[in-house]
Symmetry: C2
Subunit: 594 residues, 2 copies
């Protein structure tokens, strides 16, 4: 069993060139005048080569070896240090960084595709550079001139890695309970930080010569709760007075023994008179950090997609190879000798699993890249109103993608494991690692329940919110296009229009009930998010069917798209009605206390 | 975090005494004249004490330590050997064994409750005695006089442990592909077995002085496929010619590195001129083995229930202790100071998860014990027709319980892990082990997909099958009782009747389509099984509501039963319609090949 990873370059190209037609709007962006589909594909091919050859081969061995902790020092698994240096050397951390800041200035769309590859190949490895973009964005926007001069360039290039230090034992989802303290460091422009943080990914490691921690703590005059949190940047090493440098009061006290992601050190950190600088305004640390967390959330969504893709790729390969029992039917082009067992890929129960994996993976890829596209539009469009609308769309899509993709990623791993039968439970077949690694993405960067509340309570229900209307206009427009096409596409369009109307009615039902029962939104938020997730996949597949329609009798790639799209509307989409029925239940029935 | 296990004795008593009213029919069984509810409860209390004090404390440490393999020898984790000796000493393996064979002759119902406790406390430990009952039943029925005399007593008492050696690298679900060979051993009453087996739980260990392997192999004149398999009993040690004993040609070549169940050695076995005796008729080995596998399947179902119960018990305790953010509402009797965070158990998203865990666990306990009850009736009833009907019901319920409970057990573990947030991903909180351990039950003793085919293709669709009709008569009768009760119970009864009618219509739709599209049943089997599973839980909760009805304003236990039952019909039961819609999809739409 060789555990190779192949980046889905053909499908990435389909989504970028045909589903999104990304290059057509790149031409309107001055910085991207010269960027065309061909160049973008070359970048992705290089990325794929690096990920397949240098990162993927370290996945299983890192899981077995894990990280080592000894007297405050953390060693990462064999090969991580070298491959990370190559990653920085090749400039991958700065792919979408502005050229003004020394980056390559490419669309975030390409970066998101890179994230998908890295996650699918080696999630633990990806954890190290996982916060580079967020920390860069945060320091760019809120860092002092000195911080921007002394720290930012090395953070942005990936030469120094970053962490986000929020969680304390008593303060997980509720950061308002954070107790770490900051006091002005006399005679300097900085502060001393004291406190303990847990679950800090990459809090200590041997990958870079310095680690830059972004730490939430309270100043002496801070009000309680989230409005008293300030953000500080605390490097592990400080530039010394002379040529040397001095160790800051940042200590790793241990690493966690986790279910998965064993190649990534999850550290308990102690800050003891650790010197740092304020980032942004005092007591406004959470706002500064949101810049960082938003960047991270779409990356986490890509982890869900990456794992689902790997699950699909591996389970399909296994199912085509493994023969057990006669299947009730075989493909037209297959020959199975009498009395011989069929590849399990022929068995209907396996086809159900495999086709659903495929439908979810390819649909999510379109939606994930669409979200990145809106981030690009929000950042680069010439028109301010377009930028604003794009930002609203991205802000609405991000929590959906984070929660929906990560839950699907874990389910995909478990379903793929089932295809492997008993072998799935054995380490050397790789899929059980996918299951274990994928589970964490439902928890961090805000649990999936927090994402659902963010979506419904903060983004959909407030009266001023226009984002949902914007989203539904896009989906409805697609439905209309589809309804003008051939019968298969037309029926997808009709279905898609029904979904939009269902979402509108159900959203209204929540608002009505919420007016006199303010717990309603909290009861239904998870199912509401999933409902929107399934609608988005239907949107993805309707457009895919429409694109594939004129080509349905030629290239296998498009024939398979049509088969998968048809399957999606026949089977997996039933989950939309299921989730909707649960939202409706929550608009009627209260929940007991436990 | 103390990882204690408390057996759900109060609920076990409720199911046995009130839901099943088991003691009332025990009185009609001559052997059980003296068995009453009080005695049964005493047995369960002793079992609970043993499991809680001696078995549960070894769960986390065994997961960390794992099993050791060295030069063919396997060592189990610390404490396993001693506690297993105590288990045998106390007579737990023979709880439901006939008194005629030296057992205690108690109902299988009590044994199933013991299985639930062991699985909830320490699944890996349970693996060792897991096949004792099956091997005993198999040898009792098919063993030669010599085998019954020399091996059976020690197998039945648990003094020697047993294995089931089916799987070979090329033969997993498809045992017809087995290649191991058996040849007559000249001048003896036995055979020599040669071949390799994989995934043999307890193939080698340090718990007992002998291990008795039941091995499927082919005799020289065997036809190909499953009709050429014969069953052999192959002890690790043979009684020697004189006072000594001799090592048989049975070798453990290694143990697997698995996702979970690390305390249980999963062995690769090599049989080389291993001496054994034929069990049952030549070429009829599979039929003999079915006796063993059927006993094992209900045990595996109990593993799903045990894990789900542990997931519920631990996540509730954590949710009541952990405080994060203000909940939108608090229970009437709770006081939360202004500005103080609420226990997360108050948050609606957590209540949804926790209540669903509870509803599934308590509903499954009723259905699992009901299945064991039919096994008892099938074995002990005075009337042959009653025995036959009970056996049919048990045979129908077993694959449902195996697949439905184990899938729910894994989902329960994952949902409970979500309650723990980031802590859920850390080993010391225990729940990630529950997730890892629980996953295997969906794979072994026939994957859940095989169970679904067994249910639909072999038990429901054949024209002569009456089992489904029998089952639906029981459910319909309950619906009728409920419809004569108070409004809450009545509405549950109405709903239950609708479910029965839906099952009848959907079953008919499958038959109709199947007549001209023989793949239909294979496409819909998994969802059909789940549909029946949800109907059974509705049956369990309808009866529970009816029992609790007259008591609804008194004891908290019954008040909570009513709340949970109401919740079940409001929320989780939506999964029935979802699964049904998928079955209906499968009756219309074909599946592409992958």
């Amino acid at each position: 069993m060789t555990l190779t990873y192949q980046a889905p370059l053909r499908d990435m190209r389909f989504v970028m060139d045909e589903w999104l037609d990304a290059a057509s709007w790149w031409r309107d962006v001055p910085e991207w005048q010269d960027l065309d589909s061909h160049t973008a594909q070359q970048v992705l091919e290089q990325a794929a080569r690096f990920v397949e050859e240098r990162i993927a081969p370290l996945n299983a061995s890192a899981d077995l070896e894990g990280c080592h902790f000894d007297a405050g020092k953390v060693t990462t698994p064999a090969g991580f240090s070298k491959s990370y240096a190559e990653f920085v050397e090749a400039g991958w951390p700065t792919l979408s960084l502005d050229t003004a800041h020394g980056g390559q200035g490419l669309p975030q769309l390409l970066d998101v595709a890179l994230q998908e590859m890295l996650a699918g190949a080696n999630h633990a490895w990806l954890m190290s550079p996982g916060l580079t973009h967020g920390a860069t964005a945060c320091l760019q926007r809120y860092g002092s001139e000195r911080v921007k001069r002394e720290l930012l360039p090395k953070v942005a290039s990936g030469e120094w890695l970053s962490t986000m230090c929020l969680t304390e034992p008593q303060a997980g989802s509720d950061v308002g309970l954070i107790r770490s303290r900051a006091t002005a460091a006399p005679g300097t422009d900085g502060y001393f930080i004291d406190g303990s943080k847990i679950f800090i990914s990459g809090g200590a490691h041997d990958l870079t010569e310095n680690i830059v921690h972004l730490v939430l703590a309270r100043l002496p005059d801070a009000p309680p709760g989230t409005k008293g949190l300030s953000l500080f940047v605390v490097p592990e090493w400080l530039a010394g007075d002379d040529a040397g440098r001095s160790r800051n009061g940042v200590h790793c006290e241990g690493i966690e023994k986790k279910m998965g992601l064993k190649g990534s050190p999850t550290c308990t950190m102690r800050f003891e008179r650790a010197f740092g600088w304020l980032v942004g305004e005092a007591h406004r640390g959470l706002a500064c950090l949101f810049v960082m967390m938003n960047a991270a959330r779409l990356q986490v969504a890509m982890q869900g997609l990456g794992h689902a893709h790997t699950a699909w790729q591996r389970s399909r390969a296994y199912a085509q190879e493994r023969a057990q029992m006669r299947a009730p039917s075989v493909p037209l082009d297959a020959t199975v000798a009498p009395g011989q067992a069929s590849p399990i890929a022929f068995h209907p129960a396996m086809r159900r699993i495999l086709m659903e994996l495929r439908a979810v993976v390819e649909g999510e890829r379109a939606i994930g890249y669409w979200t990145a596209h809106w981030l690009d539009v929000g950042a680069r469009h010439a028109d301010a109103a377009e930028r604003e609308q794009a930002a609203q769309l991205a802000s609405l899509l991000t929590p959906i993608a984070k929660a929906f993709f990560t839950a699907n990623g874990f389910d995909a791993a478990s379903n793929a494991l089932q295809v492997f039968g008993g072998y799935g439970y054995i380490h050397e077949y790789g899929i059980e690692q996918t299951l274990r690694d994928s589970r964490v993405s439902m928890l961090y960067e805000g649990t999936n329940e927090i994402q659902a509340i963010d979506l419904l309570v903060r983004k959909v229900l407030p009266d001023g919110s226009q984002a949902l209307g914007l989203l539904l206009r896009h989906v409805r427009a697609e439905a209309q296009f589809c309804e003008e096409s051939d019968p298969l596409v037309r029926s997808a369009g009709v279905k898609l229009r029904e979904l939009v109307e269902a979402v509108e009615r159900t959203t209204q039902a929540i608002k009505t009930r919420q007016a006199h029962d303010p717990e309603t939104a909290y009861r239904v938020a998870d199912d509401y998010l999933a409902m929107l997730g399934w609608m988005l996949l239907a949107f993805a597949w309707a457009r895919t069917l429409r694109i594939a329609a004129p080509l349905h009798d030629s290239e296998a790639f498009y024939v398979e798209k049509r088969e998968t799209g048809r399957f999606f509307f026949d089977y997996p989409l039933a989950a939309f009605a299921y989730r909707r029925s649960l939202v409706e239940a929550g608009c009627v029935a209260t929940l007991p206390h436990v």
